[in-house]
Symmetry: C2
Subunit: 175 residues, 2 copies
């Protein structure tokens, strides 16, 4: 065992070309949450998001994500979700529901729209009824829910984990 | 397929009794990051954290975590890490280094100290040299690093994923 030597800000790993994850956000209470989602999405290779209303992205939080992620703004989510589904995306909500599947065992499709909910109200009925699947992240203690940006980061982690190339032995996944 | 019906703030899932994850933080730049870590740690079943200096936890961010997680304050991390190692914990750093292992393939031990780094400087040399292992999370786009609280959430997700009981068919993991 030698010393551990920093190698910070390494170039990124590639996901397969077929991977196309879109994140769809309703009007959120907090632009901080939206901006945090933009940052982590960009680091996870996401290039397209749907936002609603007059949501503004704080570049101090989103960092390079503010330039890397194309954000399409809509008045509401339901119509654009219908179009994305027709274009071949699977619509996956992130919510605790009676039929949510545990994200640990959920096999993501490469072309997925991850639909997140409002901080307090969660996914609205007009959105829920359009979804193909809903996933949830198990909770192990109080509070019994994750912050929306934190939960989104966890699902992004899982999506990338499923599609990233196997790592070189003893090292980091990279292609 | 019936409708998806909200079941928000469900009671938590249990991890095996042997699981004991401690999060160790150096003096961080931002109490917001520390507070976010406290919240997500609590939701992931963590009951003990090490913090340094005069770090204060913002209860509006940490929520129930402020009461659920016991935070031990120390002047610096190195001595307490040495004691935790002697007590049987594996010390795992979170950092991009020359010998970091990809967290996707890293088999966590139930008794682990996850050591996170400063937002800008990362893990300091006196900490790095005490670690048993270092893990890193692959990055797929700019910015080439994750926010410290986001990265901690992803590793907490992975730790819980490895130890959580298998879910009931078609439902959420719970014991």
């Amino acid at each position: 065992m030698g010393e551990f030597v920093h190698e910070r800000h390494r170039p990124p790993v590639a996901l397969p070309d077929a991977c196309e994850l879109v994140i769809a956000c309703p009007p959120l209470r907090s632009n901080v949450n939206l901006s945090r989602i933009v940052r982590v999405a960009s680091s996870c290779g996401v290039r397209r998001m749907i936002a609603c209303g007059h949501a503004t992205v704080d570049r101090k939080i989103a960092r390079d994500g503010a330039d890397q992620v194309a954000i399409e703004r809509h008045r509401s989510l339901a119509p654009v979700l219908t179009r994305l589904r027709a274009a071949g995306f699977q619509l996956v909500g992130l919510e605790q529901t009676n039929r949510s599947r545990c994200v640990y065992q959920f096999p993501f499709r490469p072309r997925t729209v991850l639909v997140v909910g409002h901080e307090r109200a969660g996914l609205e009925p007009a959105v829920l009824e359009r979804l193909d699947e809903v996933v949830e992240i198990p909770v192990f203690g109080l509070p019994y829910s994750y912050n929306v940006a934190t939960a989104t980061a966890m699902v992004l982690y899982e999506y990338c984990r499923q599609f990233a190339a196997p790592p070189r032995p003893g090292g980091t996944a990279r292609s």
